[in-house]
Symmetry: C2
Subunit: 300 residues, 2 copies
């Protein structure tokens, strides 16, 4: 039995013994993680959004929505969202931004080099994707777990997979037609996971930093949480791909690899809460309650 | 077969047929609900909280935490929270209020007629409580459903039940000791359901209106989302039991009875989404995603 297998067996043993001394706390797992277990988010996957309240960083998931991510990269490169606005903040649901004049053909901002029509990318084949499974039951998906840093679902046949609607998930708004999203209208989940949206709309990534600047926005008082007057719109200063920013302005972040030993230990740390405060160590875990640690890349 | 049984059979049939024409939409269910399916929330269960941004209404659950609710009623009657503050807003977690000087024996506000020590009320026997079950699997509890207007869990033996930590749940903060809560320090869930707290702390009710005034507060930048300076504290003007307010100031609300036919239809409407927008009608439902409709009692 090799070291990796022995480790896996010990993790499984710890998982079977709630409160077992071999289960670490979240803080202990992070403190003991190895540098190579952290993966820098490539600059062409990192979207940088600036609003008056602060900066929001988002990681794109081209493996799950290649056409949408390609369009979003073009739109960011064109400065498409600069001067547009956050138009909607619906309590316990989503914040959404785009063009306030999107419905007015004569006034709306042209998509220029970006495509006006994309296929729906609600899910994809599992082929070739790594998968760290969670064993706990889930209300919505036959299987849940993590792929490449994102929470994902899989169907019972293990043939299709999709990015889940958890808190902080980034999606591409659409109208009635399944293929009516372009990526120009984006939303972020700011409430309890609206998992009924899974496989009904294209999810393209997630917020990795600064979500509090979105989640604490005043709620819109119109239908669906849209702001009722233009003065309530929250202006977007700029959205750019990190790769398109001058190096001095380019944020660098790394996330704990969801296919590392420390991430498996983190899952066990969250399932069996060894922190002194817990009377009942829980012994269960839901996919959207698993933290996905991100940190600034150390200088030098 | 009586009318009620026939109706139940039709509902079961509709549930078995995703997108079946006999499944109503949420809007249709509410429009067709009968007046007697709505229950007015008694004034001695309704807590009225006023802050500068607006009014928040909370329903207490004495069946689940009788000692805590009794203490909260006494504290409200004494004006305990008037002039105290919201001290914490942690993103995707909770907002919490109480006495900024709680840790300073010489400066803290006395609890007077309220008790300084209460038993932990983390769960209770199921005896005598009505239960509307959800059939979908849940990550944290053997069974989930609704009792008396609240989302609840039950264990595998069906012997204990507890109020779940869903968005809007009201709980009583505690220190390390399980019996260290008094109800003077209260929190509201403002993020994805932190279900690992279930059976680890006493839950006492839920927000039924105005949660947006809490959930959109600026996040605290200290550890656990506590505000770092007293100027950031959000003052509480007043918290009273509706029963203690003059009749002219007393809000009256009614909620859809969670043990009514319309509530069962609402569950099916949320499980099988017949709204035109849905491509995949879902066919699944998680307990914290079930809306619990509340409306103002009609005058006269």
């Amino acid at each position: 039995m090799g070291h990796a297998r022995l480790t896996a067996a010990l993790i499984a043993l710890a998982a079977a013994l709630p409160g077992s001394a071999t289960t670490l706390t979240t803080a202990e797992v992070l403190a003991q993680s190895a540098p190579q277990e952290w993966k820098e988010i490539p600059a062409d996957r990192l979207l940088v959004m600036d609003i008056e309240r602060g900066q929001i960083l988002l990681e794109l998931a081209p493996e799950f929505a290649p056409e949408h991510v390609a369009n979003i990269r073009i739109l960011a490169g064109q400065g498409h969202w600069d001067g547009l606005a956050i138009l909607r903040s619906q309590d316990n649901y989503v914040v959404q931004w785009g063009d306030p004049n999107a419905e007015k053909p004569e006034a709306r901002r042209a998509l220029r080099q970006a495509k006006e029509r994309l296929p729906a990318e609600f899910d994809r084949p599992v082929d070739g994707l790594p998968f760290e499974a969670l064993l706990d039951p889930d209300a919505y998906a036959a299987r849940t777990g993590f792929s490449l840093g994102f929470p994902v679902g899989r169907d019972a046949d293990n043939q299709r997979t999709w990015l889940l609607h958890c808190y902080a998930t980034l999606g591409a708004g659409r109208d009635m037609a399944a293929d009516s999203s372009t990526g120009a209208e984006l939303y972020v989940v700011t409430g309890h996971a609206p998992r009924h949206l899974d496989r009904n709309i294209t999810t393209v990534g997630r917020v990795i930093e600064g979500i509090e600047h979105l989640s604490s926005l005043p709620r819109g008082t119109g239908p669906l949480g849209f702001y009722e007057s233009p003065e309530q719109h929250v202006p977007i200063r700029r959205i750019r791909l990190a790769a398109d920013l001058p190096e001095s302005e380019r944020p660098r972040r790394e996330r704990l690899d969801t296919h590392s030993r420390s991430f498996r230990l983190l899952i066990e740390a969250r399932r069996h809460r060894r922190e002194e405060w817990f009377v009942n160590p829980v012994g269960r875990l839901e996919v959207c309650n698993v933290p996905l640690p991100v940190r600034t890349v150390a200088e030098g």
